[in-house]
């Protein structure tokens, strides 16, 4: 399983990376904004899962998500939105735009494990 980890916070990426590795997943590509993430996605296919922050500079997570879902070659890539914002309207917007799941930050390794179904 290969994961694309997208978050503008370097320290958040480090924490999430440790959590993902704790689940036995070591193939991890990182990006700090939506634009970089799109480039890394194209370069590193097949990617199985994108863990996606919402609030980022340059290109935010929702814009990136819509761009990914507009391209059929990424249709099998799962996306988990990982954000601090948990209003229902936000969750609905993310799911409607093609996110497969939604995880509210900060989350524990157990919560991540449950969302990944492993």
């Amino acid at each position: 399983m290969k994961v694309l980890l997208v978050d503008d916070s370097v320290t958040m990426r480090r924490i999430q990376k440790t959590q993902i590795q704790g689940l036995g997943i070591n193939d991890i590509v990182e990006a700090g904004d939506g634009e970089e993430a799109y480039r890394k996605l194209q370069e590193n296919m097949p990617i199985d899962l994108i863990m996606l922050d919402w609030n980022m500079p340059v290109m935010d997570g929702l814009t990136f998500l819509k761009k990914v879902r507009a391209d059929n070659s990424f249709k099998n890539v799962k996306v988990i939105m990982c954000t601090s914002e948990s209003e229902k309207t936000r969750v609905v917007e993310a799911l409607k735009s093609g996110a497969n799941n939604y995880l509210v930050k900060p989350f524990t390794p157990d919560a991540l494990k449950e969302k990944l179904g492993i």
Partner: protein, 152 residues
Amino acid sequence: MDVSYINPFVTATIECFQTMLSIKTEPMAPQLKKEPYPAYDISGVIGLSGEAQGSISLSFPNDVAIKFVGKMLGVQVSEKSPDLIDAIGEFANIIAGNAKKDLSKFNLSISLPNVIIGKAHVLAGQSGASTIVVPFTSMFGIFAMEVSLKTK
């Protein structure tokens, strides 16, 4: 600013550090910030906009910030290091994002984090709005959370 609007931010602060660092933080009595007075050494600030405007900030003395971030990352961080600055901004981001679900009537959007560093810098609140400061205590020392929100 209605004092009750501070509550979601207080709850979010406690939960943020409980989940991310497994430490207990205790809020002290909220105070109305009467005039600009200096914050601590490093502050993470998030702007709030929508049906209300303002900001939320978290301000730490350097030694306290270093202990918080060091505990989170499991490694020693130094004063003014990129990791310290990044993490303080992200704490503010997470607290703002978590708190706004309880203020949904304002349909708030949050900005990207800004981090301000320097002894005795002053955080100016939204003009025309009062600012409420909540000091916190913890095993690593004190810090402060402040919220300024201008409602229509």
